[in-house]
């Protein structure tokens, strides 16, 4: 009897996780999917209205702004973080004195929450007292820097803060990648007379393809989930000019009692993530076999 239980122990241990996973992940996703086809507002209700919520969503100017912003934000955030992270990693990899200290400085923003980051940058970018005043104090009194309160520029303040927070992490990934590059390949190329720039461009960077790949995945993932930073830095404003989809979902589902619409926006977010993650997971799993 005891031996029999012993045999089932591994499955028994995994059982609670399995149940929770099936209910709270897959079940909940299905529930949200179903909800997005109903006209639920304050409370869930099961009057099915087909694709109406999705139609409303894509006719909602606020959602369209959020999608546009996500495009701008994702593109710039990823591009700048990658370039910055790569350059800093390459430079740091060249036998730098005090490498540890510099690395620590690049990476510490990653330890604080996006709310703290947002609060800090809200102060630094403060139109009256922040950077603008600093430059005025240096004598350039015509200088203007009020992106935080300009509808068409506010989204770029999110980019700045997000790059500050996450580029150190990209640096760490690239640095780890660079340390893994076989020194003999580099030496051989040197003997052939290749310049360091050529060695990096033609030999080392191609080897680091997987690092680029996973960095892009992680950064895209951060971008699509971005919510706290917007909430803390701009509150989505001015107006709703710096909203991202996650903020849209929160506002409509929880503050405006538009459950159906919120659920539809959440489903769109899920599918955007899937479109990026599934090919990645697929190739990862295939490589390992």
């Amino acid at each position: 009897m005891l031996a029999r239980i012993e045999n089932y122990l591994p499955k028994i241990v995994l059982a609670p996780t399995t149940v929770v996973m099936v209910v709270c992940m897959y079940g909940f996703i299905a529930w949200t999917a179903v909800l997005s086809f109903t006209k639920s507002r304050m409370l869930p209700q099961w009057d099915f209205v087909g694709w109406d919520q999705y139609e409303r969503l894509f006719n909602n100017p606020r959602w369209l702004v959020a999608i546009d912003n996500l495009g701008i934000f994702t593109l710039l955030f990823i591009a700048i973080s990658l370039v910055l992270g790569l350059v800093l990693a390459i430079f740091l990899d060249r036998n730098i004195r005090a490498e540890g200290a510099i690395r620590t400085i690049y990476l510490y923003p990653m330890a604080v929450s996006f709310i703290v980051t947002g609060t800090a940058w809200k102060w630094i970018l403060n139109p009256g007292l922040g950077i603008e005043k600093l430059v005025h104090d240096f004598g350039f009194t015509d200088f203007e820097f009020r992106w935080l309160v300009e509808s068409d520029m506010a989204i770029y303040t999110i980019v700045i803060a997000a790059v500050w927070q996450s580029s150190g992490f990209v640096m760490a990934m690239f640095l780890a990648g660079l340390r893994g590059v076989d020194d003999n390949i580099v030496k051989a190329a040197e003997i052939d007379g290749a310049s360091p720039a050529r060695i990096y461009w033609h030999i080392i960077l191609p080897i680091m393809r997987p690092v680029f790949f996973s960095s892009i995945i992680v950064l895209t993932h951060i971008a699509i989930k971005s919510f706290d930073l917007v909430q803390a830095l701009t509150g989505g404003g001015p107006g709703y000019s710096s909203d991202l989809p996650a903020n849209f979902m929160y506002t409509f589902a929880f503050n405006r009692a538009q459950m159906g619409l919120g659920a539809a926006s959440a489903m769109i977010m899920l599918f955007s993530v899937l479109a990026i993650i599934v090919p990645f997971l697929y190739s990862e799993l295939r490589e390992k076999k």
């Binding site: 012993e6 591994p10 241990v13 995994l14 996780t17 399995t18 929770v20 996973m21 709270c24 992940m25 909940f28 996703i29 529930w31 949200t32 909800l35 869930p44 910055l84 800093l88 430079f91 990899d93 060249r94 730098i96 620590t104 400085i105 990476l107 923003p109 990653m110 330890a111 929450s113 709310i115 703290v116 609060t119 102060w123 630094i124 007292l129 005043k133 600093l134 500050w164 992490f169 760490a172 990934m173 040197e190 360091p196 060695i199 996973s214 992680v218 993932h221 706290d228 803390a232 996650a246 979902m249 929160y250 589902a253 929880f254 459950m259 489903m267 899920l270 993530v273 997971l281 799993l285």
Partner: protein, 289 residues
């Protein structure tokens, strides 16, 4: 190995150092500005230079941020919310880590038919945007009577943390040859005694990585906090955001900054003390999610 090149590029070394130092200053400056601002009085903030050290350092902002600043309608400072976060973080980290360790142990050492598929299905949980589970979870919490409670938040953090903790432990234990488990089994050791006698003693590093990762994630969480907490149970990130956006009387930027440091202090401290493990978790966890 860092890479050094024998030929050329020496003129470039000054440039490399200059770039690295320039960016180090750029990354550290927000922290410097937050800290100096938090020790200034409001008069000096309005008249003085953003980068200047405080003329007459004062603890006023810190005392107010901790004990009497307004976070919405309450004016008890961040202190109560700091304790809320601690009451959320400690059980959530411990429970999710222990569950993750056991799950990882089974998935790596006691595989059965379907266990790899289960792992794949769980891994997916690292990637979903939580917006798709927000609505059903809030209804479940309501039905369980856990809406707006600390226990409810602990439960949510445990549920959605398990995917990561399991991933960490599974990847750690999978590197340990299964012959070890087989030999122990032949000696008559059971499922749990193999875990406690063989695996636990060699698990310190992965426990540290996982605990740090979970601690940082949960302490810095804003999304679950803002959606599932009530006025008395909010975690510190939510309180900080409310504090910054509450404008009773004049805006006190020094209090905002002191509050931001208070909210960031625990995770920054962890980063300073155990940076090595922090980075490990970041790269291990991040590559996958």
């Amino acid at each position: 190995m860092s890479h050094t090149f024998a030929n050329g590029f020496n003129a470039g070394r000054a440039f490399i150092y200059a770039t690295l130092v320039f960016f180090a200053l750029l990354y550290i400056s927000p922290l410097y500005i937050i800290l100096t601002t938090s020790f200034k009085d409001i008069e000096e903030i309005r008249s003085g230079n953003l980068l200047a050290l405080p003329d007459e350092p004062t603890l006023y902002a810190w005392i107010k941020a901790w004990g009497s600043a307004c976070t919405g309608s309450d004016c008890n400072g961040l202190a109560p919310f700091f304790w809320n976060s601690i009451r959320i973080v400690i059980p959530a980290v411990l429970i999710s880590t222990i569950i993750g360790a056991l799950n990882g142990y089974v998935l790596a050492q006691w595989r059965f038919r379907g266990s790899d598929m289960l792992f794949g299905a769980l891994l997916f949980g690292c990637f979903i945007p939580f917006q798709v589970i927000l609505l059903p979870m809030s209804i479940l919490l309501g039905k369980m009577g856990l809406a707006n409670t600390i226990s409810g938040l602990v439960m949510v953090h445990v549920i959605y943390g398990i995917a990561f903790t399991t991933l960490f432990f599974r990847n750690y234990y999978v590197a340990i040859p299964s012959d070890l488990t087989k030999a122990a089994k032949l000696d008559g050791a059971g499922f749990f005694s193999i875990f406690t006698n063989v695996f636990l003693p060699m698990s310190t590093p992965i426990f540290v990585v996982t605990i740090i990762w979970q601690f940082t994630q949960i302490w810095n969480d804003f999304l679950f906090g803002v959606v599932y907490s009530g006025s008395g149970t909010q975690p510190i990130t939510v309180a900080l955001n409310n504090l910054v956006n509450t404008s009773v009387g004049g805006k006190e930027y020094n209090v905002d900054m002191a509050a931001a440091v208070i909210a960031a202090l625990p995770t920054l401290l962890v980063y300073v003390v155990a940076g090595k493990y922090f980075v490990k978790g970041l790269t291990a966890g991040a590559v996958k999610g």
